[in-house]
């Protein structure tokens, strides 16, 4: 597996003489991986995300996507085609007057011929299960549906990476579930690398790897099972632990002998009901 994103000593700030918003961050993302980035509000997650597709350019250090440097002006459009981005507010990224038009927007920008566009459009809408809504106007869609349209618009360009910048934070639980399921499918079946920025730690449990950010720096990097062991560190930087993790802590405190690895609800349940039978 190659490294599809490589960030080396990236420093960025919005205004000269300000302290760094992104402070010598180095990280990599493997091809096909699902990486979560967590951190409280203002820790620089969105800023980092915008550095990854060249919306913002590094002041120091470098960002490479599939070997292309974001500071290379000739490569920037290729990079933006490789790296799709779903933003937080479903309304403020919907450009077209209808679902169809919106999905086509990216393809139009990249000059994809119309015939090709129509085929890709259908495929992309099917993938996110929005084909019945092709002619619908955005104000008739739910937040989750709008986000799925946003994903379709990205998929249509056959990207290799999708960045979700708190893409589910404004959705109801059902919408959130739809998006996560769609993304999991794309991650598994289409081998799309997913970089999910979230402050919902429940979501992060399912990722292959996690990065914890704090004040513009990478604080930790590791498997979810390792990260969630450091409950105190997470709480110290203002993050709310997932329910299963809290439950496990509470049970451990009461003296229930539980392992430290199981994070998912099913794993916890499994462990709990087999606990008695072992004794």
């Amino acid at each position: 597996m190659g490294k599809i994103i490589e960030v080396n000593d990236l420093c960025f700030r919005y205004y000269e003489h300000d302290p760094w918003t992104i402070d010598s961050v180095s990280l990599f993302v493997n091809e096909g991986e699902w990486l979560s980035i967590i951190g409280h509000n203002g820790s620089g997650k969105s800023t980092l995300a915008k550095c990854l597709n060249g919306l913002l350019l590094p002041e120091e250090g470098s960002v490479k996507i599939g070997g292309l440097d974001t500071r290379d002006e000739l490569a920037i459009w290729d990079i933006r085609r490789q790296v799709g981005m779903v933003f937080q507010n479903p309304d403020n990224q919907f450009v077209g007057t209808t679902v169809k038009d919106d999905v086509a927007f990216g393809m139009e920008n990249h000059g994809i011929p119309r015939n090709d566009m129509i085929v890709r459009l259908d495929e992309a809408l099917k993938l996110v299960q929005m084909e019945e809504y092709a002619a619908e106007e955005p104000h008739r869609l739910s937040g989750g549906q709008k986000q799925r349209v946003a994903i379709a618009g990205i998929i249509a360009l056959s990207p290799s990476i999708i960045i979700l910048d708190e893409a589910t934070s404004m959705l109801d639980p059902q919408g959130r579930q739809e998006i996560i399921e769609t993304m999991r499918y794309l991650n598994k079946e289409n081998n799309i690398t997913v970089l999910s920025i979230t402050h919902d730690l429940e979501e992060a449990i399912y990722s292959d790897r996690m990065i914890v950010m704090n004040q513009g720096k990478v604080l930790r990097e590791g498997l979810p099972s390792e990260i969630f062991k450091e409950a105190k560190m997470l709480e110290d930087i203002g993050l709310d632990l997932p329910f299963t993790v809290k439950m496990r802590q509470a049970l451990s405190k009461l003296g229930v002998p539980l392992s430290e690895n199981a994070l998912l609800q099913e794993e916890l349940v499994e462990e709990l009901w087999t606990l008695q039978s072992k004794i």
Partner: protein, 264 residues
């Protein structure tokens, strides 16, 4: 409120609805100019027949046309009266103190009101039978040559289409803020003018702040999706020029010729 802003498009499948927006735009544009050629009964009759034929073929209920006319009717009546009173030509028909009506004045008044009426009906018909986004597309293509002299035609069309897309969103937001302010005791519907204006300010401020935030995020999202202006862009929306569009053009040109020949 909704109607005024996004036009009064009445979806339908009539011949007029299915015409290419470019053909309709050109026809209406030309018509509004050539109507000034009309100056006698025959030429006005031709122009009126042309307009009525359009209305008839569009199958749009007349009340929609009337709704489009309503705001203008006062102006038409006003012009009519002014012309009756101040044109002193031809035979004197009525005379009562300082009040005189001449034959020429009456005819002039009828002609000018007809001209206004016909112009309004024709343009209303255009917006009634063409969706705003089709009008935008049509305009972008028709004005395309102006790009050569650096007029931002594409940008303008994109701006229009984004405005159209965001109108419902912003209206929803207005409603939300209004409810929120009402819940805090603000009253938009009663009280003196001054107090109503005062109540509007806390409504406008969050709306404006919200709109600016939206604009910034939208610009960011568009850039992330590879938008770089009108460079090497393809389009999904396609306008198709058909035989009936050519026919409309021919009819309009024929009308132009007829007005030239038959005018007095």
């Amino acid at each position: 409120m909704f109607n005024i802003i996004i036009g009064q498009y009445v979806p339908g499948q009539s011949v007029i609805h299915r015409l290419d927006p470019r053909a309709k735009l050109l026809a209406v544009f030309l018509f509004v100019i050539i109507i000034f050629l009309a100056n006698n009964w025959v030429t006005y009759a031709l122009a009126i027949i042309f307009t009525l034929l359009g209305v008839f073929l569009s199958k749009v209920p007349v009340r929609f046309i009337y709704r489009g006319l309503k705001p203008i009717i006062i102006i038409i009546i006003f012009t009519f009266i002014l012309n009756v009173l101040f044109t002193k030509e031809g035979e004197l028909l009525v005379s009562y103190g300082w009040f005189h009506i001449y034959e020429g004045g009456l005819i002039q008044a009828v002609f000018i009101s007809m001209r206004l009426l016909v112009i309004i009906v024709a343009t209303t018909l255009l917006t009634l039978t063409t969706s705003p986004i089709d009008i935008t597309d049509g305009l972008e293509i028709l004005l395309g040559p102006l790009k050569k002299i650096k007029l931002p035609v594409h940008e303008f069309a994109l701006m229009m289409s984004i405005a159209l897309r965001f109108i419902p969103t912003l209206l929803e937001e207005t409603e939300k803020v209004m409810k929120a302010q009402s819940a805090r005791g603000s009253d938009f519907t009663s009280g003196s003018l001054k107090s109503r204006v005062k109540a509007i300010i806390p409504l406008l401020v969050p709306l404006f702040v919200g709109a600016f935030k939206r604009a910034e995020e939208l610009a960011m999202a568009m850039e992330a999706r590879g938008y770089r202006g009108d460079v090497g862009r393809t389009r999904l929306r396609q306008l198709i020029w058909s035989l009936s569009d050519t026919f409309l053009m021919l009819v309009t040109l024929f009308l132009t010729a007829a007005l030239f020949i038959l005018r007095g």
